[in-house]
Amino acid sequence: MNIKTRVSTCALVALLAAGAASAAGVTFKDPTGDDKGPGTYTYPTDGVYTAGSFDLIEFSVSEGDNPDFKVTVNDRLADPWGMGVGFATQMVFIFIDKDAGKGHTKSLPGLNVDFAQDSGWDKVIILSPQPASRVAAEVKAKAADLSADIVIPRRTVGSGKSISAKVKLDDLGGGDPATWGYQVVVQSNEGFPDKSDLLSRKVNEFEGQHRFGGGNDADCDPHVMDILAGKGEGAAGEAQAQYDMLKYECGADGSSVKRATLTTVRK
């Protein structure tokens, strides 16, 4: 073993030996296997959409002035499209309800969901593998009226099974994240979105190579694969609570008769 080999080996060992204390904050769990939207949704058929990759299993927010918002799914993240940030297929919206009874009941374009009056959101953090400036440009074009309350982290990364980003508390208007209500919406990163969609992937009646199935070809169904539900403890019954929350009705012409309406979860 020559000197370079030794130095390289030592560097790796040093990395493995490094330690860190886990930060306290707030953590929510979600049951596995409920990555079916309202209970019927299926994954696209392309090989990059691996089983469990849209299955939310944990969401946590760390303490501090620059808290880490971390979303964990039930499959190892991959970057088959070369996004360069450790993940590619996922897209996550973290809706924050700081003030119960106030906030937006309208969601973001492409998700086709509303929020209940007592769960209106005040801020939403977008975790996307796309460059922040592209997400910002999409927001400007498609959700300009909500842009003041949309937070795009300057850096979002995927590692292991978790997608995370740090957001300054000031950008969220201050407060204690442990007391806030949350709704985490797991979607898929679509680099070629429909004109009405904010970089999100469509759900149709039949799944395709790059679109979800089990819904409706029109935009009357929620384009959402997994969310928090119940008490956010990961109990098996929370899957049904999710399916109930995402229930929707479409008219024969594809118009929405009843939109899926989300509530937030808080500790």
Partner: protein, 714 residues
Amino acid sequence: MHLRNATLAAAVTAALGLMPDAVLAQDSGASPIKWYGSIYAKFLDGDRRTEQGLYSNAESTPGEGGGDQGQGIEFELMFNAQVSKQVEIGGRLHSRFNKNYWANYGGFAVPDNDTTNCGEDDPRCNQYVKLRGAWARITPGYEWMDSLMVGNSDWGMFDPWTQGKSRYIDRDNIGGVLLQGSAFDRKLRWDLARVSLAQYQGLTYSTGELGSDNIYANDANWIAQAKYTPGPSWNATLIAMYAQDDEIDANDDSDLDGVTANTRWDNTVIALKGQYSGLEFMDMGASLYWSDYNVDTSLCGAGAWNGNCRFSPVPLRDMDDLSGTLNLNFNRLFIDGLSLSAQLFRVGSDYVSITAARREQDVLLTEGQEGTWMWGRPDYNFGNLQNGNSRAGLGWGGWNGEVQQVVSGMADNDFTDFDEPVAYSVIGWQGVTLVPKFAFGDWEFAAEYSYIDFDTNWQACGGQDKDIDCAPYPRQEGTHAWGLGGDYRAPYAPFQDRLMQIFALRAMYTLDVGPGIDLMARYKYIKDEDDRVTRAGSLTDAYDGYPNAVGSMNPDWIPNVGLGGCVECDDREADFTTIGVSGGMQLTPDLYAKLIYEWNQVELIDGTIDVAPVGLGFEASNDFGFAEYVTGQMDKNRVGLDFSYFLSGVEFGGTIDYLWGQYDPYFYTDDNGRRVRFRPAAGVTAIATPLGNIPVGSVDYNQYRMKIFMKVSF
């Protein structure tokens, strides 16, 4: 109007979007056609001054040697339509660059039946728009079948070891028929496809020629896949494929009972893959592939290592082999933020999957070799403008993008730019990769250690005589796949005893200044050693090729067939070191820029001055350039600027690189059977080697290159 015509007319009307929405919205489920697309413009500049195509690398199409000059624009119009509840269609109309330089003045020229002057008769230059990626998808609503797709796809529903992606030039050039279905409450999903073989997917890059009775038009890969996902804890996938290339039986001289077809080659691959994530602390996945390949051995005659069929993406004789991977992922290793991925892998030397991915997919966990040293047969010694192969490729800079490992003998990087990924074949690789990652506060760390042995470590391909025993294996361009000076799709060397280790460490930190500065530093070290011929008795067999290549031999060099019995004298050792730092910043809400500095070094010993590349002939001449003298130390610096700028509907991006470096040639010679450093005597200006008379002094080199693009999506 006949009923069929009326139906067709309605479908066409719907597809063209001419039918009123109200009509479409009735029970048929039809919706208006959607049109969308992009305008993509590219500006290339550089000081290599090559303009044989508006891509940094375009190597295989006659008249398209790649380029670093010029501007051009592409147009792509995509469409899809829900014709009815059961029928959906889609496709693209696309022009592409080739040599569509703006300076061509729109391709305007008087048609002259000349395809060499980039005029109106040359489709590479005349800005034609072509139908690409057309498909129809039928969803009849049957219990047993979900959908039928007829047309073009990238076939991404399969995997890169079987039916993989093969962008060339478009991702969806390959056509076929795909049936998909599900059972057991969708716990079981299946795919069944007949995928037409592309014309190049065959022995000697051919499945026959249209019109020459090779019936290449009906060659196909049949592939079936079943995925079983009973729950979130585990899933399993079974894949079976059979690809076949037929041609007319030359001995059948009567068509009274039809004409007999013979199989030129066939290829079977069976794969079993599974994932288990039921353990709290670890997820695991495994895959096993078995391939069987049979070929009509009469096609390449008696066969020889340097024979007529040497340039082929598939072997020349029957073979079968096993390959596979085992992945263990520890998502929280002892402490929060620390994860570890481990992969055991084996790609058998005789594994053959002719439809495996040739680029844009990656079968291994390792980040592999460095793109900056890939391809390129850098002519460090002479900078000879007549050296065609040295002038091809990307020049000193290589590729900036990620490096992708594929299990294809036709790994390809045609029609790519220097900022894109580069792919190379890892047939024969076996070993282990460990990738720890650690996040702590605003710091992120990632590392890699890979230990790579080779199933292609053999002497005379496992036999006694390379010309006989290596005959099953294609040579391709003649230079074995190495990170420097080797070809990326030539996995087989006749004599190999190689070991490679990769160490990599990367740290990222976001500095909280202004909008934040993304800092990154990385270190990578690759140790690649190959003892090549390890038995003295094989030296003459190994090194008999070059002296026989009459007419191309360096006349000043005195061949030493058998290297005087010195088995150390052909050992190759390469130490690749990379140190890189970068800082990126969101300068405005729309503009992100990153400044990069990289230092790359290779210390390389490629045998003594007596060593000629095994079996290489005319290709080694300095005007041809399939091999160059690269023993020595190569240092390379890169300063780069990356930027991206987004407005609603448009993206600008670009990379500007300046590279400079120095090459110091080293010389080694045989000292009683041992390889020792050879220091030229005072006054000696050049040393005779098989690859030319190499000047003894240092050589400086540099390169400037730029790519800027604009993409408008509508």
